[in-house]
């Protein structure tokens, strides 16, 4: 990676502001190409994530690594040039929960269709990004492939239209959707292996959504060859599952639970077994666009339903783990 004078670039990626400083021309070029629609002139004084990438001088007994610094601490030390950009992106993700406490943050892809917010919560490998890309080709508007940012007061979903990270095994599916990886570039991102990025602004027209209320919470689980299937679940069960994929519930404590409960009272919740991408997108589109399934009553009716054996679940939230990991990584 050739170097020059260190230069700072500023981006406004939805509600997230990023300042990238690096002397590496290629990184600056690639990042500003990937996020060119988000480039802004300079800082506006609002909370900002500052990323700096440098490569310390050569020391004979040490492997030379890049330092990806985030708000003045080293977050990652990739050794290969093609690892740098995905780690810059990843480092920004790590910082979002820290600098944006006004949002409850879930590990979920988020989209908007006809003013309705839809979130797809799930761990890595659940098929969130591929499903998101597929729905974009059907006119759904993109908010984010990794976060659902829910404003703690308004309970509305907000956009953070970061580039969509696609793992190599999913390239053929993405190509079958007619979507091209940005710049035909391939990178290496830790255990995910080879990845490429989709610039969401380059998929169709008017593809970036606006803030909206959440109407559907759909938990996808990709199963190769499966018949796509939606199963309605209760809101409390859904909220419990959501707390597990929340990045900052531990910091928000009871307020976080209030936000989760308040948000989910206006939503319908489903488990989705996803299979072939086209049929899965058809199924989800039918659900959301036909308004099938009335929104449940927001409060308990007080009536006792069918008997179900007493059951309780106990879990720790994602946020607590994220905090531990973040401190360790920092």
């Amino acid at each position: 990676m050739s170097t020059g004078r260190s230069k700072e670039l500023h981006f406004k990626i939805g509600v997230v502001r990023v300042a990238l400083k690096s002397s590496h021309r290629r990184l600056r070029r690639e990042y500003s190409s990937l996020y060119r629609q988000c480039l802004v002139d300079g800082p506006d004084g609002s909370a900002e994530i500052r990323v700096e990438v440098c490569r310390p001088s050569y020391v004979p007994w040490k492997r030379r690594r890049y330092h990806v610094r985030i708000n003045n601490r080293v977050q990652f030390e990739p050794s290969r040039r093609d690892e740098v950009l995905p780690h810059v992106d990843w480092a920004i993700n790590w910082e979002v929960p820290r600098v944006m406490p006004q949002f409850l943050q879930l590990h979920a892809s988020s989209m908007e269709v006809d003013g309705q917010g839809v979130i797809f919560p799930g761990e890595s490998g659940s098929g969130k990004s591929t499903l998101t890309a597929g729905l974009m080709t059907r006119g759904w508007r993109y908010l984010c492939d990794e976060f659902a940012l829910i404003h703690a007061e308004s309970l509305r979903l907000h956009p953070y239209p970061r580039a969509i990270c696609i793992k190599k095994p999913s390239y053929p599916v993405i190509e079958s959707l007619g979507i091209k990886l940005h710049g035909h570039q391939h990178y290496v991102k830790g255990s995910k292996g080879y990845v490429g990025f989709i610039n969401p602004f380059e998929v169709g027209e008017a593809t970036i959504g606006r803030d909206c209320p959440i109407r559907y919470v759909i938990f996808p689980k990709y199963t190769a060859g499966a018949q796509p299937r939606l199963t309605k679940i209760g809101r409390a069960e859904a909220a419990f599952s959501l707390h597990r994929v929340c990045f900052n519930l531990f910091n928000c404590q009871s307020l976080g639970l209030d936000v989760l409960a308040g948000m989910i009272r206006g939503a319908e919740c489903y488990h989705l077994v996803s299979g072939e991408i086209g049929r899965t997108c058809d199924l989800v589109s039918r659900l959301v666009q036909s308004g099938v399934g009335e929104v449940w009553q927001s409060e308990s009716t007080g009536k006792l339903g069918e008997y179900e054996a007493a059951r309780s679940l106990t879990g720790v939230c994602h946020g607590r783990r994220a905090e531990v990991c973040s401190l360790a990584a920092g």
């Binding site: 707390h243 597990r244 179900e308 309780s312």
Partner: protein, 123 residues
Amino acid sequence: MEGEVKQVVESQAEGATTPALPKEAVSAASRSDLTVRELDGEVLIYDASSADTHHLNATALFIWRQCDGTNDADIIAERLSAVYDVSVEDAREHVSHMLREFQQRKLVGEADVPGRGGEGVSR
């Protein structure tokens, strides 16, 4: 990042001996520090002291609410059987399991019941 979720109680294995029910009154009063949010007749409980979140289904919630320091497990089982379509025997089994889980998860505490200092189980 896998969460540590444990399915605490489903049902007892066939043929297993039904454990004896606690004979003490059960109370949940001492855990007023829990944050409780009800959703469609079920409940989410956040325990700030452990940072654990609990989900109780409607039946578990019914049992938990009976833990007011005055009811013992037999009474709770009878009430469960009275309001749901479940036999007293099954209800006893489920109540017994649930109370044990509540104690393990610290969703109920030792009761301040006169006479036994721990005679009841309290929220």
